[in-house]
């Protein structure tokens, strides 16, 4: 996946009131507030529009870049041990490594897994380096959290800076609710209304396992999906 950044935010200092909402929602913690004015670190900005969309004063506009900036996180394909670790991490998260986890950028589970294995410790750094959370900012959040959890990491939310002091935003909350973990009695209670818990768990597992088997065969790697 190659993320394409086509536009960046511009802050109108005459309109900005320093409310910090932009800093609180920025997925890459690229915005700080200095003397009641928002300041963007363009080296981290992915042009996701979160600041533009939530600014209550309409103080932010999106400006087209003369030349798009590309974001690409490379997988070390030539290292079989590395690939095995990626596969194992995805498996523990209940994801297929080739599975799309961000519909906006087309990012796949294996790319996020590689970054986590490389030591990217915060979701904000992950967003800046890999390009996840640079589109809708919403849907990729759960597979990202599942991959971190599978790696045994509970990431800290990266603060944004307010007059040089760290401040907590609300870019994300740690929260994993997963079909394989909900109580059996709850499933039984609701299946009569049409919910197909066991069928859905089975078909998704079968897709992942079937593909795992293909990869296993092709690469002679021993693995299976665990819940």
């Amino acid at each position: 996946m190659v993320g394409i950044v086509n536009e960046i935010p511009r802050v109108d200092p005459n309109k900005c009131i320093g409310c910090t909402i932009c800093g609180s929602v920025c997925p890459t913690a690229a915005i700080s507030v200095v003397n009641r004015k928002a300041v963007v670190d363009y080296s981290r900005c992915t042009g996701c529009r979160a600041c533009f969309e939530r600014c209550p004063e309409d103080a932010i506009t999106m400006e087209k870049l003369p030349k798009p900036r590309l974001i690409q996180y490379k997988i070390r394909e030539d290292d079989p041990e590395n690939l095995k670790k990626i596969d194992e991490l995805c498996r523990r998260a209940g994801l297929h490594p080739e599975q799309i986890i961000c519909f906006c950028t087309g990012t796949r589970a294996k790319e996020v897994a590689q970054a986590i294995l490389d030591g990217v410790k915060t979701i904000e750094d992950l967003a800046a380096l890999v390009g996840v959370r640079s589109g809708c900012k919403v849907e990729c959040m759960e597979p990202i959290q599942r991959l971190y959890e599978a790696a045994g990491i509970k990431p800290e939310r990266k603060p944004f800076m307010w007059n040089g002091k760290p401040m907590q935003g609300y870019q994300w909350y740690w929260n994993i609710v997963y079909t394989f973990r909900i109580p059996e009695k709850v499933k039984v209670k609701y299946e009569k209304f049409g919910y197909r818990f066991s069928d859905d768990e089975r078909v998704i597992t079968e897709i992942v396992e079937q593909e795992w088997e293909k990869i296993k065969e092709a690469k002679n790697i021993n693995r299976s999906l665990s819940k």
């Binding site: 394409i4 086509n6 536009e7 609180s24 929602v25 992915t46 996701c48 529009r49 979160a50 969309e53 939530r54 999106m62 087209k64 297929h96 080739e98 599975q99 799309i100 986890i101 519909f103 906006c104 950028t105 087309g106 640079s134 589109g135 809708c136 900012k137 919403v138 849907e139 959040m141 759960e142 597979p143 959290q145 599942r146 609300y170 994300w172 909350y173 929260n175 994993i176 609710v177 997963y178 079909t179 973990r181 909900i182 109580p183 709850v186 209670k189 609701y190 009569k192 209304f193 049409g194 919910y195 197909r196 818990f197 069928d199 859905d200 768990e201 998704i204 079968e206 897709i207 593909e211």
Partner: protein
């Protein structure tokens, strides 16, 4: 008139200026104006459909009838829990403003809810909170468009987005996050629309509760819905939130604007959301179930998108393009993976092929997509990857090029100078003259004459099949006794009222 059952095209609503769409003055031609475009009406396709009230079958739009119906329904719900000094959040969604491209009925229902609460309880602290999908400014845009900020009073009407601060809620399936500002009043009113809409996600299991996991929920909850369950279980996230002690402690009643594929047919309100859900489920089976079944039987045509909304939320015959392209019986719970849903899209490989034969393909009848008018703000690259796509004009291309949710769209699409040129190209490579237009038209569907004839020929058999075979199956799968619902006094009264 083109013939007994082939009509002149229906004029759709004009384009809406939005931060997510092209400048409206650049839309110089609409698809219904293309040569050879006619319309097919629901009165001819499915004459058994209930009569719409807005617009009615003469095309009249009388907003007073919406208010009268809403007042009648709202005077019959229990509001005794609300005291005069209580605060109330009316929870709405952007969806209601997009029905047939005309948000006036939904806006009128929201205003009426406020007025009747005041009338019946004396409460004055009534706020409007409108949720959004993935266009985080859209709700505020509609609030201004319909002057709801003025109607509710300064600061009392505003949009809420999944990026806004959240609060945890304990549910039967675990802790989930909802939007703090949706629930910052003593009471909540659930004000929604009943069309099937994202049936590719909720599969019409507890459709009426869906906004509790979407419009009123944080981003983590929405991602949980779309990633951590499955193609027939995701809506449990919404039901779990609705049933949580926290939400139940605030819930008062629900009020829904009720469309059919043809137009708005009524307003429904009830304290019992599940009873309301039963009514709209059966109504949707009997109406949307038919047009959606008909759509799956169409062969080889060109789709033209020409509506003020993102690509999957463009309407033809009241059905969104996401459902149309899914091309399976979305109500049938034996169907695993629709042609389009995120639970399907996530299992496409880097070459754009499904990773399993279980994944149904996008509607194979769609030979080309022409985009004359659409908004960004929803990940839609999937369609340009799967179907040859032509974008009309640089103004439209630039919308998608700059959209952070569609950065790769232009890698898979071409740009034509104008709509006739785009169509000329599409006709050539698609090798068909059949066209269906997603423009939100009410009363019928704008199509080519050839497709109108195909639809008219198919409709009677579809109607019979849905009534006699599919509806009994759909009801049984959901544990619904549809005959009992149909024969219940409330449903009969409701359905008779619809037909007035």
């Amino acid at each position: 008139m083109k013939g007994a059952k082939i009509h002149d095209p229906i004029v759709p609503m004009p384009p809406v200026q939005s931060p997510y769409g092209p400048p409206v003055d650049k839309i110089t031609m609409r698809a219904y104006q293309l040569p050879g475009i006619v319309s097919v009406r629901f009165t001819d396709l499915f004459p058994e459909f209930p009569q719409p009230i807005y617009p009615d079958r003469s095309g009249n739009k009388n907003i007073k009838i919406i208010r009268e119906l809403a007042e009648d329904r709202l005077r019959r719900v229990d509001m005794s829990m609300i005291k005069s000094n209580d605060s109330i959040n009316i929870l709405g969604s952007h969806h209601g403003f997009t029905l047939f491209g005309d948000g006036a009925p939904y806006a009128e229902m929201l205003k009426t809810i406020r007025d009747i609460i005041i009338e019946r309880t004396g409460a004055k602290d009534i706020r409007l909170r409108v949720g959004v999908g993935l266009r985080h400014k859209e709700a505020d845009m509609w609030i201004k468009y319909f002057k709801l900020d003025e109607y509710f009073g300064k600061g009392r009407a505003r949009g809420i987005a999944p990026l806004d601060p959240g609060i945890p809620v304990d549910t039967e399936i675990g802790t989930l996050y909802v939007l703090r500002d949706a629930f910052d009043a003593k009471w909540i009113v659930h004000a929604h629309n009943s069309d099937v809409r994202e049936v590719h996600f909720h599969r019409h299991i507890d459709r009426a509760v869906k906004p509790f996991a979407m419009s009123y929920a944080r981003l983590e909850t929405r991602a949980t819905y779309h990633f951590n369950f499955g193609p027939r279980t995701a809506n449990i996230v919404a039901r779990a939130i609705f049933e949580s002690p926290f939400v139940q402690s605030k819930y008062t009643f629900s009020s829904f604007i009720v469309p059919s594929p043809e137009g708005i047919v009524t307003v429904d309100a009830d304290n019992n959301l599940y009873a309301l859900n039963d009514r709209i489920t059966l109504h949707n089976f009997r109406t949307y179930g038919k047009i959606m079944t008909l759509y799956t039987k169409l062969k080889d045509f060109i789709v033209v998108l020409d509506f003020s909304g993102p690509i999957p939320y463009q309407f033809a015959g009241g059905v969104i393009f996401a459902n149309f392209s899914s091309n399976v019986d979305l109500f049938d719970l034996d169907v695993e993976f629709p042609g389009y849903t995120w639970y399907s899209e996530m299992f496409y490989d880097e070459l754009g092929h499904p990773m399993s034969p279980r994944i149904n393909p996008v509607h194979p009848g769609i030979k080309a997509i022409v985009i004359n008018l659409a908004w960004g703000g929803y990940p839609s690259v999937f369609w340009s990857q799967q179907v040859p796509t032509i974008i009309v004009g640089e103004h439209m291309a630039e919308v998608l090029r700059r959209d952070s949710q569609n950065r790769e769209f232009l890698r898979h699409a071409v740009v034509a100078d104008d709509l006739p040129t785009a169509m000329e190209f599409a006709y050539k490579f698609a090798k068909t003259d059949k066209v269906i237009i997603f423009d939100g038209a009410a009363g019928g569907i704008n199509v080519s004459k050839s497709l109108a004839e195909e639809m008219l020929e198919l409709a009677p058999k579809v109607s019979e099949e849905v009534d006699n075979v599919r509806i009994p199956k759909w009801c049984k799968q959901r544990g619904m006794d549809c005959e009992a619902i149909k024969n219940s006094e409330k449903y009969k009264e409701w359905y008779e009222n619809i037909r007035r």
